[in-house]
């Protein structure tokens, strides 16, 4: 009997979205003219994107502002109709917005709230329980778990308007997860939160992914979110998919060099390096040089054999620098 291949949990084929945007010059004259004659421009927000994501994967969507990340997420969550292409999420065509699909997904937007400001979060949670038709016992159990994981029992009865940004974000997460979605779209979930809250949420997403086997797509401008959570990244720039693979692979392809940091026993001094290595401006009492990946072992052994070295590490360039390079150059 032929083995049926497992269908990816999320797939996109030639997915594209073009916005029609009104073009208008500056000033009063241009605004009056635009009343009678409007000029439109087509903006390709997403161009023929292809990828597959398996059940239980955590994938980071990265790219500069306006790259097309959120537009892609909105198509995958059924909010936008694509201009061309296909997508399937949990077996459904997202923009048909079938009830079965909407019950399986959740989208948490860091800059939008689904909580009502005048009433306590608990009231909104109960309504969501009814809307998603979560059985009462399961609702209470999930709520208890989420409240404990996020340590927010004291917040449940306070009006949302009296909560801090971080506390409101916790509420958004509970609201988004009460129906135990199997696909979770997180759009900038740590926006504006302090470092300790960011860490806490990261641990929470990891735990949710592990315990529920949920597929998670995350967009974030904080690379720390992506490096902590996503073994795989999809890099989008100007609507095009530039890279799809392991985060470490991106660094290797983009920055085919290593940084060797070392400290000499007698402190920083003028030294000679092999031709393949370049000295970098030094910080504190450490010195650093840059060399290609292939030459790194040779340069390391040269340093150790030639000088009296007290400390030495070989590092990849910081991921922020790698990403910045892509954003600036627009290609991998």
């Amino acid at each position: 009997m032929p083995i049926k291949p497992i269908e990816p949990h999320i797939s996109a084929r030639g997915l594209s979205k073009t916005y029609r945007v009104v073009e208008r010059g500056e000033g009063l004259a241009a605004s009056i003219k635009s009343l009678f004659h409007r000029r439109y421009q087509n903006v390709d927000a997403v161009c023929e994107i292809n990828f597959n994501i398996q059940r239980g994967e955590m994938v980071g969507f990265i790219g500069p502002n306006g790259a097309g990340k959120t537009t892609t997420l909105k198509m995958l969550s059924g909010l936008l109709h694509p201009s061309a292409g296909e997508a399937r999420v949990a077996g459904y065509v997202p923009w048909e917005r079938k009830t079965g699909f909407l019950k399986r997904i959740s989208m948490v937007l860091g800059n939008k709230s689904q909580m009502l400001w005048d009433i306590p979060p608990m009231d909104t949670f109960r309504v969501l329980g009814e809307i998603y038709q979560v059985p009462r016992a399961a609702f209470q159990q999930t709520l208890d778990e989420l409240v404990e994981l996020l340590d927010m029992s004291a917040l449940l009865t306070k009006p949302v308007r009296n909560l801090s940004l971080g506390e409101r974000m916790k509420c958004e997460l509970v609201a988004g997860l009460l129906h135990q979605p199997e696909v979770l779209f997180l759009d900038e979930p740590t926006l504006g939160l302090d470092v300790s809250m960011q860490n806490r949420l990261r641990s929470f997403f990891k735990a949710y992914n592990r315990t529920r086997g949920a597929t998670i797509i995350l967009t974030s401008h904080y690379m720390a979110d992506v490096t902590a959570l996503c073994p795989r990244v999809i890099l989008i720039h100007r609507g095009r998919l530039l890279y799809d693979g392991e985060l470490s692979g991106l660094a290797e392809r983009l920055a085919p060099f290593k940084i060797i940091r070392f400290a000499l026993t007698n402190g920083p001094a003028a030294i000679a390096l092999p031709e393949s290595a370049h000295l970098l401006p030094s910080e504190d009492d450490h010195m650093a040089c840059r060399t290609s990946r292939e030459d790194a072992p040779a340069v390391t052994s040269y340093l150790l054999n030639t000088y009296s070295v007290a400390d030495l590490t070989v590092e990849d360039p910081p991921i922020e620098a790698v990403i910045d390079q892509v954003y600036q150059e627009g290609e991998v």
């Binding site: 916005y19 502002n65 959120t70 909105k74 969550s77 059924g78 909010l79 936008l80 109709h81 917005r97 009830t99 909407l102 019950k103 997904i105 959740s106 989208m107 937007l109 800059n111 939008k112 689904q114 009502l116 400001w117 005048d118 009433i119 009231d123 909104t124 109960r126 309504v127 969501l128 329980g129 009814e130 809307i131 998603y132 038709q133 009006p159 759009d187 900038e188």
Partner: protein, 263 residues
């Protein structure tokens, strides 16, 4: 259909609106003013006589009912639907496994309850002070109920399809101002339908606005013979069907065009 979810949504909206009841009661008070002014104008004009067959007490009865009908049929929701589309809040509605119109219905029903907590006592006090007269048969009383429900539905869906034009024009809600003005002029607020100039009445008879506020009140205050009433129901139903049809078509087309705003 998930009625439990819809009911929960109504309760939540109601709870939220009650938090700001002062605001809504001031709004309700504002809406009472125009009919109240015309109540005094026409009851004073009638004095000890009758105008178009209505005496002072009947004018008071008519206008107190207009106040109630206006409050019960006024759709506050349509003013917010445009904003919901414009500012991308529609995303939240679309992500839930419940038809988004439930949000609008929830706001409508919750709103009616909040407004009535203010309007009913105030109307009751006015009725005690001004001594209205009402000559209603039981048949008119029965006919009043569907006429009022359809008046609400017509006013709601007519405003809803106008509000949905926000998918195309960002400030389509300005059209609601025109709707409100036409309701004010042609639905029996400025003057009962029977007192409108012949030319205006001929137009108003066939437009939808009379059937949004004045028509049920005309029935309950015994102003309509059976034939007129039946014709009125037919016109009301036809406009309602058109408004529902337009709402559905514009919603479907608009959704395809919807470009959710912001990052």
């Amino acid at each position: 259909m998930n009625y439990q979810g819809g009911l929960a949504l109504i309760k939540r909206t109601w709870a939220s609106w009650l938090q700001a009841r002062g605001f809504f009661w001031v709004l309700a008070f504002g809406w009472m003013i125009p009919p109240l002014i015309y109540l005094f104008v026409w009851s004073t004009a009638a004095g000890e006589q009758t105008v178009a067959g209505m005496d002072r007490g009947e004018f008071i009865g008519y206008y107190l009912l207009i106040i109630l009908s206006n409050q019960l049929t006024y759709s506050t929701t349509n003013w917010t639907v445009g904003d919901v589309i414009r500012y991308g809040q529609l995303n939240t509605w679309l992500l839930r496994p419940l038809p988004p119109i439930f949000e609008a219905f929830a706001a409508e029903i919750a709103g009616k309850v909040v407004f009535m907590l203010f309007v009913l006592p105030v109307s009751g006090i006015l009725a005690l002070l001004l001594r209205p007269e009402l000559h209603t048969t039981w048949m008119e009383g029965v006919a009043f109920v569907p006429a009022l429900l359809m008046a609400w539905a017509l006013r709601f869906f007519w405003g809803y399809w106008l509000a949905l034009l926000a998918f195309w024009a960002t400030r389509a809600d300005s059209l609601l101002v025109i709707q409100d003005s036409l309701v004010f002029l042609l639905s029996g607020v400025v003057a009962p339908f029977a007192l409108l100039p012949a030319g205006v009445a001929a137009v108003a008879r066939w437009l939808p606005f009379r059937y949004m506020v004045g028509f049920p009140v005309e029935i309950l205050s015994g102003q309509l013979p059976a034939g007129e009433m039946l014709l009125g129901f037919a016109i009301q139903i036809a406009w309602l069907a058109l408004a529902v049809f337009l709402s559905i078509v514009i919603w479907k087309k608009g959704l395809r065009r919807y470009a959710a705003v912001g990052g």
